[in-house]
Symmetry: C2
């Protein structure tokens, strides 16, 4: 049973694609598809500065692809299931190899957060 894809206009398609057309953001989307992560986890996994990660997350959030949730001193990000272009996002993520080396390397660096 395949859902009928809601067709989208050019502008919103381009906006969504631009948000995901970066290796860091594409992989963040791949990760949050499965569960929520907090900023500091991404910092560890991507071995990237905290401001750099924050800015990538802001872009994804502004574009509507992720949602933010506060838990104590942490902010968790997860996939926004109410996003209009959700089908587009999923079809892109779906053809991204789960065995991809870059993805694997990043996943292997995941650390638990105290509140978990």
């Amino acid at each position: 049973m395949t859902a009928v894809t809601v067709k989208r206009d050019t502008a919103s398609t381009v906006q969504c694609m631009k948000a995901m057309s970066d290796p860091t953001r594409l992989l963040i989307m791949k990760l949050v598809q499965k569960k929520a992560y907090c900023v500091c986890q991404f910092v560890d996994m991507f071995e990237m500065s905290q401001p750099a990660i924050s800015q990538h997350l802001r872009k994804l959030k502004m574009a509507g692809l992720v949602r933010e949730e506060r838990r104590g001193q942490w902010r968790f990000f997860s996939m926004n299931d109410e996003f209009g272009a959700r089908d587009l996002v999923l079809s892109i993520l779906n053809q991204l190899d789960d065995e991809d080396e870059t993805l694997r390397a990043i996943q292997s660096k995941e650390k638990a957060v105290s509140c978990d």
Copy 2:
């Protein structure tokens, strides 16, 4: 009968998405999916300068999304069906609305080429 999608790595996915993450190039891909167009047709349809169109086409060609064919003094561009990330391209184009206003407006400006 749905074809099995070949999973792709992060780098090639991002490269393909970047090539399509522009309204002009996304719509060019939508157009060449159906048939080949020459540069001068795109210039008319997108109401954009010839060098600008040439440069967009070069990007698409360099990324492997389109192929070029000479017919007399014209150069026709069509979708490259041998492209590795073809499934990704098609799934993106597939969810782009055929009734999209921008697309319609561009299609309405199509003119015939002498050699047609």
